[in-house]
């Protein structure tokens, strides 16, 4: 007799499962929509919170893009949005820095970490491994509510008198440690640190749950090598998070001590506001080591789930198996491992020992190898496929394009010698917005369009999806591609105005073009938001398996059930990528179909 762990943690026998699901669940509003322990609801909570946060961060980017394109123009509407920071329609230089700081923080952590992993790990892990829910529904609920609290603290920090944190999203001390140095390092920075601490708690609770679920709750037959690549990517991401977020927590904690309790971990030899400070013996470089020890794995925490989603979407819509399944897993593992030993490439010119720099050059450029393997595998998956251009598929292809473009410029930045002149310029801004920001958000869009029917039982409007895609990919390249030229012209990032040095005047043209594309991109996201919220209520009803997909989440009923499947959880008999198999009547064979049922298409050695 099979024994399964259920969502609630109690043990139940499979034959009783059905009955179990009939008598449970007299849910009220609070337990269903607010303090839900159901992974499906939690994933929606993460997604909608992340979408709202993304619009906040995008709105901020619009404000500073206006400033960069038209530094001499007055935008009087700013005053009505941000009050005295936009007095007479001029953006305050201090608040400009606050905007770029909070834009970065929200996008990296709240949208692309919390939003991406939170949404899709929660939705897909139980569905695709065949579990009734997460290993611990309660911890999962806590994970969301810590995330929510953290988001709220971050938003609240924007409404205080001294403004939010403004030392850049990397919050390097001493700037972030000394309120005398910048107004945002007062209460704003304290709230930033509180918010991030809550965020780390959320990320850890989520991560532990994801790992536990993938390892323990796989259904019968779901061996590790039959897992969809999505699940592999979520698993590796969660492990990265568990290993690296505590280091950020340590860094933040030491910074809190330096700020509030007079310690000197990061501070030494400082003279500010007409007086020397008592701090002695600390090193600002220590913070950078700690920060980037998280910071670099963080890049892959953001990117790997997007790549996982893209793998699945590309394979399904190419109607052929993902090319190099095992190479894909292997390259993700190698990337994850390397991500822990490359952090120094953010610090080549910070005063770190140059020899150490050489070591990091070597490890950094190694990352390009598994990344190249992934790209070639994606392209080979498209080759001789039979491509269905759903909106999700378009976004997945866009992701690969960004991954190539941004990855290539990474080879220049990872080379310490070449980094000297492009470090902290717009070249860097262009690089990471393309390779990490846009790739990851495209992965997220692909995921939303593809699994929206699984979330809401309805389809998003396809035509609006196409429009959204073409406008977005155009504006992403329109915004970030020209930034490479700005960087190569020597323009530093985080400059309130680029007009302080005469030869930079000519670059204003490029900035105007960038801002126009940014506004276009913003409009495109409004189309997405409309489509998303409209389709929740009015979208076309979805069929059971709208994309003709092999993975087992599409075998669960369209209507959501607590416990996902009525009756027994389906057993799995094959890998998830039997698309276009010769001899099979359909061009897909779901994972639940045993080999014994498909003698016509079996191939010798067919035991994926």
């Amino acid at each position: 007799m099979e024994i399964k762990q259920s969502h609630a943690g109690e043990v139940l026998h499979e034959e009783h499962a059905h009955a179990h699901h009939e008598h449970e669940h007299e849910e009220n509003f609070w337990t269903k929509y607010v303090f839900s322990t159901d992974h499906k609801m939690i994933s929606k909570q993460f997604l909608i919170t992340a979408i709202l946060m993304a619009f906040v961060a995008m709105g901020m980017s619009m404000m500073f893009r206006l400033q960069l394109a038209w530094p001499d123009t007055k935008f009087h509407f700013l005053e009505s949005i941000i009050g005295h920071w936009g007095k007479d329609g001029k953006l305050d230089p201090g608040f400009y820095l606050a905007l770029v700081t909070i834009h970065g923080t929200i996008m990296v952590f709240f949208v692309l970490t919390g939003g991406l992993s939170g949404t899709f790990s929660n939705l897909l892990i139980p569905f695709q491994v065949g579990a009734r829910d997460m290993a611990s529904g309660f911890l999962n609920m806590l994970s969301y509510w810590f995330f929510f609290a953290s988001s709220m603290v971050m938003i609240i920090s924007c409404f205080i008198a001294t403004g939010p944190a403004s030392g850049g999203w990397t919050i390097y001390p001493p700037l972030s440690a000394l309120p005398q140095a910048i107004p945002g390092s007062g209460l704003g920075m304290t709230l930033w640190l509180v918010s991030m601490s809550l965020f780390i708690v959320s990320a850890l609770l989520g991560g532990i749950n994801y790992v536990a679920t993938v390892i323990n709750l796989r259904t019968d037959g779901m061996s590790m090598t039959r897992l969809p690549l999505t699940i592999w990517s979520f698993l590796i991401t969660a492990i990265l998070g568990i290993l690296s977020f505590p280091v950020l927590f340590a860094a933040a904690l030491l910074l809190i001590f330096d700020r509030s309790f007079g310690t000197s971990f990061y501070l030494s030899d400082i003279f500010i506001d007409g007086a020397p400070l008592a701090h002695a013996g600390g090193s600002p470089i220590l913070f950078q080591h700690l920060f980037w020890f998280l910071g670099h794995p963080e890049v892959y925490i953001v990117l790997l789930p997007a790549l996982g989603l893209a793998s699945e979407v590309i394979s399904v819509n190419s109607r052929k198996p993902i090319f190099g399944y095992k190479a894909m897993i292997g390259s993700m593992l190698v990337i994850a491992f390397l991500s822990f030993i490359v952090w120094g490439h953010h610090m080549f010119v910070t005063g770190m020992n140059p020899f150490l720099g050489s070591v990091f050059v070597f490890t950094t450029l190694l990352v390009a190898i598994p990344s190249a393997v992934k790209v070639f595998n994606y392209i080979t998956t498209l080759w001789k496929g039979n491509l269905q251009f759903t909106p999700a598929m378009l976004f997945a292809i866009g992701l690969v394009s960004f991954f190539i473009t941004g990855g290539l410029t990474g080879i220049i930045l990872g080379d310490s010698a070449l980094d000297i002149n492009v470090h902290d310029t717009y070249f860097v801004v262009a690089h990471f917005h393309i390779v990490m920001g846009s790739s990851a958000i495209f992965g997220m869009f692909a995921g939303v369009y593809h699994w929206f029917p699984r979330m809401y039982g309805r389809l998003m409007n396809k035509k609006l999806g196409y429009l959204h895609f073409w406008l977005t990919i155009t504006s992403v390249y329109g915004v970030f591609f020209p930034m490479h030229f700005l960087g190569l012209a020597g323009l530093p990032r985080r400059y309130y105005a680029n007009t302080a040095y005469e030869p930079f005047h000519a670059l204003v043209n490029i900035n105007v073009m960038i801002t126009i594309f940014a506004i276009l991109g913003g409009i495109a996201q409004l189309i997405f938001a409309f489509n998303f919220f409209y389709s929740i209520f009015k979208g076309k009803k979805s069929s059971q398996n709208p994309w003709k997909s092999n993975t087992i989440e599409w075998t669960a009923p369209v209507e959501h059930l607590h416990g996902n499947w009525p009756g027994a959880i389906p057993k799995v008999h094959r890998w998830p990528y039997d698309y276009g198999k010769p001899g099979a009547p359909d061009d897909f064979i779901p994972q639940t179909v045993p080999y014994s049922a498909t003698p016509e298409s079996n191939i010798p050695g067919d035991d994926h």
């Binding site: 820095l97 400082i270 073409w470 000519a506």
Partner: protein, 346 residues
């Protein structure tokens, strides 16, 4: 500029066209089967993929040609020439990969658009291919690593015997330069000795400081190597000389270095850039506070004779009346160890 606006307008029009399409297709929706509709969408998107590819590649080439003259002029330092060469080698390799992969990506997307009479090719593994595209990037990257490290070592591991010592000191929001004077030794300094008259906190009891000269412009003699000792009194700044391919952070509590040799005078660079008003600049390139964007200093490269003439006109660190009686500070705090090392290397 105009062409950019035109492009923006073109995109705007494209948007409207697509919007119109949406309306049109939506109205047809009732009369069309899902499959036929998807067929049409596949076709439209496949052509858009192809269009986007060629339009994008065209724009890329156009931008490179159009923006070429905005780029930094030829490197004004010796090591920078090598860096620029390495950069160009990198660009060639990256562009080859970029073109091949993007054309394959969008090209395959176009070519293999859905056709209901066809099936995807069941092709899921080929170890030979995986090995090929692991090994080729590995070989290329390792070559790039070694080329890069050669330059890096060349820049960072030089013997400093022949260099002129200069200190560049950052604070919110300006830079100060201290020349080491005739003895080519920078006197000791400490942040505890900073006063209005002694902004760098130089120790007046140190003989080496006696001939140190403080200036608000960075002048360098052409052809003579210079070792810049960089530090900061408050937050992290970054000493960034884009025209010289030089950058190093200014970190409170430690001294960082950059060794380089200017090779082109300001006058000559004005000819090269065809800009009579051209000046080199020192920019702050690490976020340092509200006026970060405005923290810069004029940089001049002179003939050695002109440099000497200029330097003798500048003020000594403790010039006669200006020299304050520095508050005696405990010996232990007077120097930051690194500076001793600098002197020791001499």
């Amino acid at each position: 500029m105009n062409i950019l606006l035109i492009l923006a307008v073109v995109f705007g029009v494209l948007v409207l066209v697509r919007l119109a399409n949406v309306a049109q297709l939506a109205s047809q929706l009732s009369g069309e089967s899902d499959e036929a509709e998807q067929d049409k969408d596949n076709k439209v998107n496949a052509w858009l993929m192809l269009g986007f590819l060629w339009f994008g590649l065209f724009l890329l080439v156009y931008m490179i040609l159009r923006y070429r003259h905005y780029m930094l002029p030829v490197s004004a330092s010796e090591h920078g020439v090598g860096l620029d060469k390495l950069m160009n080698v990198n660009w060639v390799i990256l562009f080859v990969v970029f073109f091949i992969t993007q054309i394959a990506l969008f090209g395959f997307a176009f070519k293999y658009r859905y056709n209901k009479n066809r099936r995807g090719y069941f092709y899921h593994d080929n170890n030979k291919l995986e090995v090929i595209w692991t090994v080729i990037p590995a070989v290329v990257l390792i070559a790039l690593v070694f080329a890069g490290l050669k330059q890096w070592n060349n820049i960072t591991q030089v013997k400093h015997n022949d260099a002129m010592y200069v200190q560049v000191y950052g604070k919110q929001f300006d830079w100060t330069v201290r020349y080491s004077g005739k003895d080519n030794k920078l006197g000791k300094s400490s942040f505890r000795m900073i006063t209005d008259n002694n902004p760098l906190g130089v120790d007046s009891n140190d003989r080496a400081a006696a001939d140190d000269i403080i200036t608000k412009e960075l002048h360098m003699p052409v052809g003579i190597p210079i070792d810049v000792v960089i530090n900061s009194r408050d937050v992290i700044h970054s000493f960034f000389l884009p025209h010289f391919r030089v950058q190093m952070n200014a970190v409170p509590g430690m001294n960082t270095h950059f060794y380089f040799k200017p090779t082109i005078t300001t006058a000559k660079m004005r000819v090269i850039t065809k800009n009579e008003k051209f000046d080199y600049v020192l920019l702050c390139n690490k976020i340092c506070g509200v006026a970060h964007y405005n923290m810069q200093m004029k940089v001049v490269v002179d003939e050695p004779a002109d440099f000497k003439a200029w330097l003798t006109k500048e003020k000594l660190v403790f010039e006669k009346s200006a020299a304050p009686a520095p508050a005696p500070a405990p010996q232990a705090e007077k120097n930051s160890g690194e500076e001793k090392k600098v002197v020791a290397i001499k």
